[in-house]
């Protein structure tokens, strides 16, 4: 069955979620692909608790907007998603901007909760669809949140992986380096290297990212899309070609 890139990425992320024990996932507002991945796991039968931030009806928080951070501080969030205007080979992320602090060249919106969530979540999946030397850099201009921490700093988790429009990287916090896990159809180790600004390891036998199965695609386009229509109408229209009832 043919599929859209977003569907492939959602399936990639869903596989990463299922690769480790996961009870509670929080998904940010601007994250339809991670949200689709989390819903896919739920619809595949995983007993997951999803907290969808900025969901207008049924917003999960009753203690104001600090509750997500308190919840994460308590160690109850097993998995969070982060992106970045820049991401570097040590999994540092930059949501501040480029040029002199605080982003005098290009200013991104700001760090949001990253400088806390990246440490205090059980683990983080980094997701950035654009895969270019502009985004995946050797060294971020500014660190909103670091990929690893010095001794003496309380840190519950690190990046598990980085999923882009071209490949999946695994992150190794002990080494502070990414390794290529798989490249998407149409890419190769060489094309990934050409489009990536940081060095990464290439294990033996790295191959193509498996395509979504028919069952996965059917779930995404059916039950997952049903759940997402209210919060992400544009995404559902574009990717799944479905519109919410008026």
């Amino acid at each position: 069955m043919s599929y859209k890139t977003e569907e492939l990425l959602a399936v990639c992320i869903a596989r990463l979620i299922r690769a480790r024990p996961t009870r509670h996932i929080a998904v940010g507002a601007a994250s339809p692909v991670p949200a689709a991945a989390a819903w896919l796991c739920v619809k595949q039968g995983d007993p997951l608790h999803l907290s969808l931030l900025h969901k207008r009806s049924g917003n999960p928080f009753t203690d104001g907007s600090r509750e997500l951070f308190d919840l994460t501080g308590q160690g109850r969030i097993d998995l969070f998603f982060l992106g970045g205007g820049q991401i570097d080979g040590q999994a540092n992320i930059n949501l501040i901007g480029t040029g002199a602090w605080p982003g005098l060249e290009v200013r991104f919106p700001g760090s949001f909760g990253s400088a806390f969530m990246y440490y205090m979540s059980g683990r983080t999946i980094l997701f950035r669809e654009e895969h270019s030397p502009r985004v995946l850099v050797d060294r971020v201009a500014h660190i909103s949140a670091p990929g690893t921490s010095e001794p003496g700093v309380f840190r519950r988790g690190h990046a598990q992986a980085l999923v882009t429009g071209r490949c999946v990287f695994d992150f190794h916090p002990d080494l502070g380096r990414f390794s290529l896990a798989s490249y998407h159809a149409g890419e190769s180790v060489e094309s990934i290297r050409a489009m990536t600004g940081f060095e990464f390891d290439v294990p033996e036998g790295v191959g193509e990212t498996p395509a979504p199965s028919d069952a996965e695609l059917a779930l995404l386009r059916g039950a997952v899309c049903d759940e997402m229509l209210e919060t992400y109408p544009d995404f559902c229209a574009r990717v799944f070609e479905r519109k919410a009832a008026a």
Binding site: A29, A30, H54, R56, S57, N59, F61, T62, D63, G64, S65, R66, F69, G73, L95, I96, W101, P102, G103, L104, R107, F108, P109, G110, S111, F112, G113, S114, A115, F116, M117, Y118, Y119, M120, H142, I143, S144, A145, P146, S149, E150, P151, G152, V153, F154, D234
Partner: protein, 270 residues
């Protein structure tokens, strides 16, 4: 009401998903406020961008400034580059923590995370200590950051309704209660005023803020728009998209402002 906020005041303004009083922000523009120091709760949105665009803002202390689906905040970015705006970058739970320290009447509170972030490196007002409590990490004491209490002069937000006793109802948007507690004064626009006392109604009470924190209330129907107000009305994406396009340039912002701020007054919030 905007007249009571002096130039230079530190003003806490919640973002688009947390019932900002856009009506009062527009009134501040009309009264040509200057030198405001805005506090994001914990981030900043549309109301902050228009205040910056109109030259009302000297400084913003926040975790992000964004128009959500409509993208980057154009007047914020422009002012930052022009060097007319001091930006103190934070991270969301740090904003909450600094406000909660003020709420609790303590001079500081600790927060994990942060260490190794350039946010911390650029906050000389934050301090890393060795925690006297908590786990030993690698045989030594945990390093942890202490953040000072942040006391805004004024909290400005919108609420669904006020009652006869001057209590206001914000429902699940309890961060509005925190800024009301942390701030010297709170100025609130509301959709409507109703008879009775929310505090005597077990169903309404948990989403109410006691009148003791509220210095002023004004009716401003649809006063959060284009931001959303709980189940009363949604985020007006088209309006904010149109703003984002217009406000790409200073001239475009001025034109937008002439039409949407000066021509369309919500007199109640003056």
């Amino acid at each position: 009401m905007a007249a009571s906020i002096p130039d230079g005041a530190m003003v806490a303004v919640p973002p688009d998903n947390s019932i900002p009083s856009v009506a009062l922000a527009k009134a501040l523009i009309r009264r040509r406020a200057r030198g405001l120091r805005l506090v994001g709760v914990p981030i900043s949105g549309f109301a902050t961008d228009i205040l910056i665009g109109a030259g009302c803002v000297a400084e913003v202390n926040t975790s992000a400034v964004t128009l959500g689906e409509a993208g980057f905040a154009p007047r914020f970015s422009a002012a930052l580059k022009a060097g007319t705006l001091v930006v103190r970058d934070a991270t969301c739970p740090a904003m909450h923590t600094m406000l909660q320290a003020a709420e609790k009447g303590v001079p500081f509170m600790p927060l994990r995370g942060l260490i190794g972030s350039d946010i911390l490196a650029n906050r000389p007002d934050w301090m890393v200590i060795e925690s006297p409590f908590g786990p030993l990490i690698g045989g030594s004491r945990e390093k942890i950051t202490l953040l000072p209490a942040l006391h805004p002069d004024v909290a400005v937000f919108h609420a669904v309704m006020a009652d006869s006793a001057g209590n206001v109802w914000v429902g699940r948007r309890r961060e509005c209660a925190t800024i009301a507690h942390a701030s010297q004064r709170s100025l609130v626009t509301v959709e409507r005023v109703v008879e009775g006392n929310f505090l005597e109604d077990e169903r309404l009470c948990p989403g109410a803020i006691n009148a003791t924190y509220i210095s002023g209330i004004a009716i401003a129907e649809r006063g959060a728009q284009p931001s959303a107000l709980l189940d009363e009305y949604g985020f007006d994406t088209d309006y904010v998209m149109a703003y984002a396009r217009a406000a790409k340039t200073e001239a475009g912002f001025a034109e937008w402002c002439a039409e949407h701020v000066f021509d369309n007054q919500a007199v109640a919030a003056e």
